[in-house]
């Protein structure tokens, strides 16, 4: 729970383009059979990366020129579908610390933020510009400046957005709120006593 502040994300970026990339795509349901999240990294985007025999079918994630990337660039409504934290966990365990997309499904966004994955919002035109700039040198380092809401790569810089609550939490280092929640347990108990619930068997 003791968290570092996230002021910048620096690393290689890989384009995983397309809108409405859902959580079943990010991590297919059969990989949810696990009691820890540890193995999920290798299974990220599995069904669009490998054929039935487990052979790579040439997904950008497996493209040598994006090796070691830590930022995903995608389309609109990224992470729609289920609430499975397995999806952001797979992204994180595969070494990614940020996503740049047009928009995000809400539960996914919240899950990412808690894990310290920075979800950057950029409109269609800006993302097109970012992807174009990335292509100049695919192995270049991208920088996401959380404070200034800027993305720069290959000498080009773009204004983007990061939801204010999340941005403030990254900068303050309190994006995982458990410690804050635990700090208010006296108030929680008081409120609990005032509520009207009745479920006894």
């Amino acid at each position: 729970m003791a968290l570092g502040k996230i002021e910048k994300v620096i690393g290689g970026a890989v384009p995983v383009l397309g809108d409405d990339i859902d959580t079943d795509r990010i991590i297919p349901a059969r990989f949810l059979k696990c009691v820890t999240f540890d193995a999920l990294g290798a299974q990220l985007f599995y069904d669009v990366r490998y054929d039935d025999n487990g052979k790579s079918i040439g997904h950008p994630i497996d493209d040598a020129k994006y090796k070691g990337a830590s930022i995903i660039v995608s389309g609109n409504n990224f992470g729609c579908g289920s609430s499975r934290e397995h999806a952001p966990q797979a992204i994180k365990k595969a070494g990614f610390n940020a996503v740049i997309a047009g928009s995000y499904a809400e539960i996914f966004f919240g899950n990412c933020t808690t894990l310290g994955i920075v979800c950057v919002e950029a409109d269609d035109a800006t993302r097109a510009g970012i992807v174009e700039a990335m292509a100049i040198d695919a192995s270049a380092q991208m920088e996401i400046d959380v404070e200034a809401c800027k993305v720069s790569v290959n000498g080009k810089s773009f204004d983007v957005a990061i939801k204010e609550n999340a941005r403030a939490a990254f900068l303050a280092g309190n994006y995982d709120s458990l410690a804050d929640l635990l700090g208010n347990m006296d108030d929680v108990k008081k409120l609990e006593a005032s509520l009207k619930y009745s479920f006894t068997a």
């Binding site: 349901a29 949810l32 059979k33 403030a168 347990m185």
Partner: protein, 465 residues
């Protein structure tokens, strides 16, 4: 200015504003299942934190459990499924949480078990590590899916950090045509508002159609709010709600009248304010069917698949192999699945059985009828519905999520096409990376089963004029 139900319930449950600007919200009832909870318990163990209010969490097992009787014998054939089962058994035992395991004969899909046990009550805040938690909103509760880190937070504190939603009221007025069901209503709404249309919103469903709907139908509608991007979907309470809850195992008993009075007090005021109101006419809704890879890609059975105007539509057609301008009516199906937290309730099986009776599943079609819970199964058996399905050639199975997402042995094979009463037609959702899912109502599913192809249930069964 009046308040809506969402605002009233939220205010009562707000503990504090947190440093991150979000609200610390008290969760009155917490449901867990085997897929998204073991990691949360592990996190708590690492931090040496105990479950704060174990009497407010209830557990079941649904996703991984096999649905054929022989394979339900322990240990499960799949060692990963067995490991997850053992984890939820030991975690609930160690923390004093009630577990509706198969031996208790109360097991079932989490969103069916809550209402069936009378745990889902109006005016509550309900969270579960599962996106279809909005189902419980049918009872005038604020219910939403959460991630595993939040399951950890709720276990540790019975609260979580969350920002309030805007509220959009969706009215469906008039009278539904015969052969048109709750499932068609919600698919229709999603096709109009889009899969991301509800982002940041709670949907309040209202209007004549909702007022006249059974609780089962209301749950079907709220269940799929998330498919429209809305994390919360809810319906204000009325006598239908109270009648459903009364007498359920965990329902209020001696204090019944007092609780009903409270439940009424949190309903939306007549002059409540909304961020947005949209209205639909029931007369415009016909049986719906999806043609693509997300639930927004839905058309009426008499309509043609639209010509693709964006990449997602093109991607959908590439995946399904259908073409813009085609009718879905007449497309061959390989599999029919009736079940899930969307349409796995007793009313769904009653309605489906009404039309399956005396008919035969078409040659070459694999048809599954999977009750959502022991409660549903036992009631169906008591009414003889199981026999109707079996005689018609359906495989009648034990309760679980089954082929809704195929984490158990029930799966599509290759590029099979399935007419399914579940809620998601994502690529690979039903267990095969190339499998295709067409979402329909239970009666449309029966029509597909007996004809071997997508058909208008009203024609096949001569429903209505």
């Amino acid at each position: 200015m009046g308040k809506n139900l969402f605002q009233k319930v939220w205010e009562k449950h707000a503990v504090k504003v947190l440093p991150n600007g979000q609200t610390q919200l008290f969760i009155g009832m917490h449901l867990i299942h085997e897929v998204t909870s073991p990691q949360a318990f592990a996190m708590l163990r690492d931090l040496d934190i105990k479950v704060a209010f174990p009497e407010r969490t209830f557990a079941t097992v649904d996703h991984i459990i096999p649905t054929d009787a022989e394979n339900r014998v322990r240990p499960y054939a799949d060692p990963l499924a067995e490991e997850m089962m053992q984890a939820i058994e030991s975690n609930t035992k160690a923390s004093g949480i009630t577990f509706f395991n198969p031996e208790s004969e109360k097991q079932g899909v989490v969103h069916i078990v809550g209402p069936e046990q009378g745990l889902t009550q109006p005016g509550s805040t309900i969270a579960c590590g599962d996106s279809h938690t909005a189902t419980h909103g049918a009872f005038g509760a604020i219910a939403f899916g959460i991630g595993t880190s939040q399951v950890r937070d709720v276990l540790a504190t019975q609260t979580m950090s969350i920002a309030p939603f805007k509220v959009r009221r969706i009215e469906i007025n008039g009278k539904l045509k015969e052969g048109v069901y709750a499932k068609d209503v919600i698919l229709y709404i999603i096709s109009k508002l889009g899969v991301a249309g509800g982002t940041g919103h709670a949907y309040e469903f209202a209007g004549d159609v909702i007022d006249n709907m059974s609780m089962e139908g209301r749950m079907t509608v709220c269940n799929m709010a998330i498919e429209g991007g809305a994390r919360v979907g809810y319906i204000n309470t009325d006598e239908t709600t109270f009648a459903y809850i009364k007498g359920k195992p965990y329902a209020p008993k001696d204090n019944w009248d007092e609780m009903v009075e409270y439940w009424k007090s949190v309903a939306s005021d007549a002059d409540a304010q909304y961020d947005d109101i949209v209205k639909y006419d029931a007369a415009d809704i016909e049986p719906q069917i999806t043609w693509g890879i997300n639930p927004e890609q839905t058309i009426g059975i008499s309509e043609k698949i639209p010509m693709p105007t964006n990449d997602v539509m093109q991607e959908a057609l590439d995946y399904t192999g259908f073409a813009g301008g085609d009718l879905m009516n007449g497309k061959k199906v390989d599999v029919v699945f009736i079940g899930s937290c969307t349409n796995g309730r007793i009313e769904d099986f009653r309605e489906a059985a009404k039309y399956a009776k005396g008919k035969k599943v078409a040659e070459g079609v694999r048809a599954l009828a999977v009750p959502g819970s022991f409660g549903v199964r036992d009631q169906a058996v008591a009414e003889g519905l199981d026999k109707i399905f079996i005689e018609a050639g359906f495989d009648w199975r034990e309760p679980g999520c089954s082929m809704c997402l195929a984490m158990n042995p029930d799966k599509l094979i290759g590029s099979e096409i399935s007419a399914s009463t579940s809620n998601r037609n994502f690529k690979g959702r039903q267990g095969s990376a190339t499998g295709r899912t067409l979402l329909v109502s239970p009666v449309m599913a029966v029509a597909a089963a007996v004809t071997g192809k997508i058909s208008d249930c009203r024609e096949v069964f001569e429903i209505g004029g």
